[in-house]
């Protein structure tokens, strides 16, 4: 066979392939639109199933964001030895800036400390009786911001260094708290993974079941198609596209639900955080993640349809029950 003939044959085959696919693509959409109520119910179930893990994921993302923005929460407090001068404190601060680029270095003089203490403790005048200020110089240092893990690591490094400095009496850090937070986030992430897996299975199952009924109600049509020479691919295509549509529309619904939820929760959450003196804007899914969700939903739907149709196609093999009464 000459190469031009081979090429033109290939081109004809590709064109036929595209025509068959465009037929399946539109006919499957037509079938979904024809059975509006059934489609709506399936899509609703899929949307909610995908919304739940997504919602938890977004909650965690926001929590992570919120906590690590609170720089002072992850600050190490350094108490200097008595008699350490302001110059020494300033030098250490400069040294720290150079070594570890901390997020914040705040120096509290004994006078400021006393003022704070007076206000906070309510001892007020009785403190005047002290002959000299017993408070040392204090410094608050927080490591570079980042993920919980990175912050944890930064704190460790910072503490190790500070403890090796002569002028430092003691460093204090509510380590447990950060650790707990870190572990809690890890736990949450693990829960999200499990939820994504379980609800993924649920999505596949729901689509598989829907398509199974769909296939069963088209049994006669499938048989006739096979009798007049349709291959497995042609029989399969409309159902695979249906599954894809279910998945994509379900994912779209989940994204919309998530968006509405965030919109709805933003104000009450803002009011709550205001009482802590914090302003925070809730983070949504974002365009990039939304695209992934759509793609993932479409894939799961397609997979569910494939499982169902594949089972049925086995019956259509040569010597199967095809065309037999």
């Amino acid at each position: 066979m000459s190469s031009t003939k081979w090429l033109s044959q290939l081109r004809r085959k590709i064109r036929a392939w595209i025509r068959r696919h465009s037929y399946s693509f539109f006919s499957s959409l037509g079938v979904l639109l024809k059975h509006k109520i059934g489609t709506l119910m399936t899509v609703l179930v899929l949307g909610i199933a995908m919304f739940l893990p997504l919602g938890l994921y977004i909650t965690l993302e926001n929590l992570d964001d919120m906590n690590l923005r609170q720089d002072e929460w992850s600050a190490v407090t350094v108490f200097f030895k008595p008699g350490v001068t302001q110059d020494e404190v300033g030098r250490l601060a400069e040294e720290l800036e150079k070594r570890m680029q901390p997020e914040i270095v705040r120096i509290i003089s004994p006078e400021e400390g006393m003022a704070d203490f007076r206000e906070a403790s309510g001892f007020g005048d009785s403190l005047e009786m002290l002959e000299e200020n017993p408070l040392p110089w204090v410094m608050q240092v927080s490591p570079k911001p980042g993920s919980t893990e990175q912050v944890e690591h930064g704190v460790e490094e910072l503490t190790a260094y500070l403890q090796s400095v002569d002028s430092v009496e003691v460093t204090q850090f509510d380590y447990k708290w950060l650790q707990r937070l870190g572990r809690m986030m890890e736990l949450g992430e693990a829960a999200v993974s499990i939820l994504i897996f379980l609800f993924g299975v649920a999505v596949v199952t729901v689509v598989a079941n829907t398509i199974r009924l769909d296939v069963a109600s088209h049994a006669e049509e499938i048989e006739i198609l096979a009798l007049v020479g349709a291959g497995n691919a042609f029989v399969r295509q409309p159902f695979l596209y249906s599954g894809l549509w279910y998945g994509v529309i379900g994912a779209l619904l989940a994204i919309v639900l998530l968006f509405l939820t965030i919109l709805y929760l933003d104000r009450p959450l803002g009011l709550l955080l205001e009482t802590y003196g914090t302003v925070y804007d809730m983070r949504g899914l974002g365009v990039y993640n939304s695209l992934w969700v759509l793609l993932g939903g479409g894939f799961l739907g397609w997979l569910g349809a494939w499982i169902s149709v594949q089972r049925y196609l086995r019956l259509l093999r040569v010597g199967g029950r095809l065309g037999r009464r």
Partner: protein, 225 residues
């Protein structure tokens, strides 16, 4: 075109549908297949369409040995074979034109070409005016002709019919058979399973007689009118 070499077919459970059947059919000829119900007519057609596989022996259709061919060539074999069923096997939720165009849709033809060829096929069976009708609004004979139009629309070299006149009155049956004769005169091999002996005799074509799964008789075509 069709060649059976010592073909036997046993169904699971042990019932024997065909036993040691051998014959061959020339390209472009028209042959009847007859026998009582249960004699193996349908099984023979199913073997030619690759709906079943022979338990023993060779089934060779259009130069291809279907006994050894892999499953995946079955759709291609069926696309090269027009099949007409007693119960028509039309899609109720598709118009006559869409039903007839089905094999072309599967082949991936352009819509304009499909339309043209569907109209040509419907014209051949005299149903051009029913293009947009629904199958269930047609009479039995008309539905059968839609089935024939679908079987010939892709111009396959082989046409099979399983009891095509099963539910039709004698006049309609005769019309249908002359339609098949017309198709066969254009070079298509036609094999018709039927137990309508009177009609078969009138057609004066070659007749294969099956009896309890064996080829009991092979009556050649008679040329005298």
């Amino acid at each position: 075109m069709i060649k059976f070499e010592r073909v036997s077919k046993l169904y699971p459970g042990g019932s024997r549908a065909l036993a040691d059947v051998s014959f061959s059919i020339e390209r472009g000829s028209m042959v009847f297949l007859t026998g009582h119900s249960g004699a193996g007519k349908s099984t023979l057609l199913r073997l030619v369409m690759m709906l079943e596989r022979a338990s023993r022996g060779q089934v060779i259709v259009n130069g291809r040995n279907l006994s050894t061919a892999p499953d995946r060539v079955a759709p291609m074999v069926r696309r090269n074979t027009g099949m007409i069923f007693q119960d028509h096997k039309l899609l109720r939720d598709k118009t006559v034109a869409d039903n007839v165009g089905l094999p072309l849709l599967i082949a991936g033809l352009k819509y304009s070409d499909i339309r043209k060829r569907v109209r040509a096929a419907l014209d051949k069976v005299g149903l051009l005016d029913k293009e947009n009708a629904w199958p269930l609004t047609l009479s039995g004979g008309e539905q059968q002709r839609v089935g024939i139009a679908r079987a010939i629309v892709a111009m396959p070299p082989l046409l099979l019919a399983d009891e095509p006149t099963g539910n039709l009155d004698p006049n309609l049956s005769r019309e249908l058979f002359s339609l098949f004769e017309h198709v066969s005169e254009q070079g298509v091999t036609v094999l018709i399973a039927s137990h309508d002996l009177n009609l078969i005799r009138q057609m004066r074509k070659r007749v294969l007689v099956l009896s309890a799964g064996r080829l009991a008789d092979d009556i050649p075509a008679s040329d005298d009118p």
